[in-house]
Amino acid sequence: MELRRRVLKEPLSKGGISIDLISTERLEEMGREKIRFILDSVKDGKVLVLEKGLTSSEELELIKVTMSEIDHDSFIGVETPGFTGNVTRRTLLQRLLRRPPPPRMMVVGPAHLLKTIKKDGRTIEAIILTRASDEEEEISDEIPISEDEIEIMESMEGAGPDIEIPSDEE
């Protein structure tokens, strides 16, 4: 997978990326406002970890609202790795009652910063792309040499101990 960090306007990410852990209580208090809260936070450059994620219908609502607010310069969408709406396995009672499984932990972040690398039913691997990770490529192994150091090196030329190297011819 090729990872490219899109440079967009980032209101809050000058000193790093804010990761907010949101409790179930906090999210439930918000009621219908939770989608607005999540989207506003993500658009501010934050990554949210939701203790109890969104239901599948809330996720779809988040996608819908996200699409209506995508802006080429500052917001390209959301990345939502999580176990939310785990449709792979359900308890017998959930199957009998035909109830969807309850939401589970979920991470929501700006798509230009948060990337899901790998996901299966049990493990999710995601990374947050930072400015530092961009700059890593530019870091060179060479250590810059100052003008003073160059002068010292020049003065040392030929100042080493005189060592005679035996010649094979002798």
């Binding site: 779809l60 996608i63 995508i70 390209i76 939502t80 449709v87 798509a111 790998k118």
Partner: protein, 208 residues
């Protein structure tokens, strides 16, 4: 209304079954339009839409009415709806950098794609069944697949998972079947036409 009229209306009602509308859903580039074209060509002789390797080629839902499918000794008429790919993010830069698209065109495509996603979601209220197309060569646990399946289950919409692109060496329909065992999974290659008979039989069974 007389007794005769009531009887006549009742009898006509028995034969006037509502036309089932089947939505073709999935993430971008899973092969939704290729599948829609295959179904439409097989039963009407006409394609439904243009396909492309560039994501979000279908940016408006397209509907083909009264596609009569015959399989497993039955004959059912469906309205087939090919929907735009659902995504959580759309970045015009990808069209420029990966496909060499002109920037203005890329921005326009991205804008239309966002509108397409919204339209596809709205269509969920109108369809009676869904063919959820997944790329069998890709990870089935992507968030769009999981979110869509969760919604289809919550709405109790009959769903068939179409494990597409089985003509590719790396395709693994079994991975999809293992990931979502509670739904019927039919391996197909919409491009090559493999597995379509099985899909039509499944449509007869689950969308009846």
């Amino acid at each position: 209304m007389g007794l005769f009229d009531s009887l006549l209306k009742g009898l006509l009602g028995l034969f006037r079954k509502k036309q089932a509308s089947i939505g073709i859903y999935g993430p971008p580039n899973a092969g939704k339009t290729t599948l829609a074209n295959r179904i439409s060509r097989d039963w009407t002789g006409k394609p439904m839409g243009k396909t492309s390797e560039i994501p979000h080629e279908t940016r408006k839902a397209k509907e083909r009415k009264e596609v009569v499918i015959k399989a497993a000794g039955s004959r059912i008429s469906f309205d087939i709806v090919d929907t735009p790919g659902i995504a959580t993010k759309i970045d015009f830069h990808n069209f420029v950098e990966d496909y060499g698209m002109d920037e203005d065109k890329a921005k326009q495509r991205a804008k239309e794609a966002t509108e397409g996603v919204i339209e596809a979601i709205k269509w969920l209220d109108k369809v009676d069944g869904v063919l959820l197309v997944m790329d069998a060569a890709e990870d089935p646990f992507n968030q769009v697949n999981v979110t869509l399946l969760g919604n289809l289950e919550a709405r109790k919409l009959p769903t068939i998972i179409v494990a597409n692109k089985m003509d590719l060496d790396e395709a693994s329909p079994a991975t999809i079947r293992d990931a979502f065992p509670q739904h019927p999974t039919i391996p197909v290659s919409a491009l090559a036409g493999y597995g379509m008979d099985n899909l039509y039989k499944a449509m007869m069974k689950y969308f009846r």
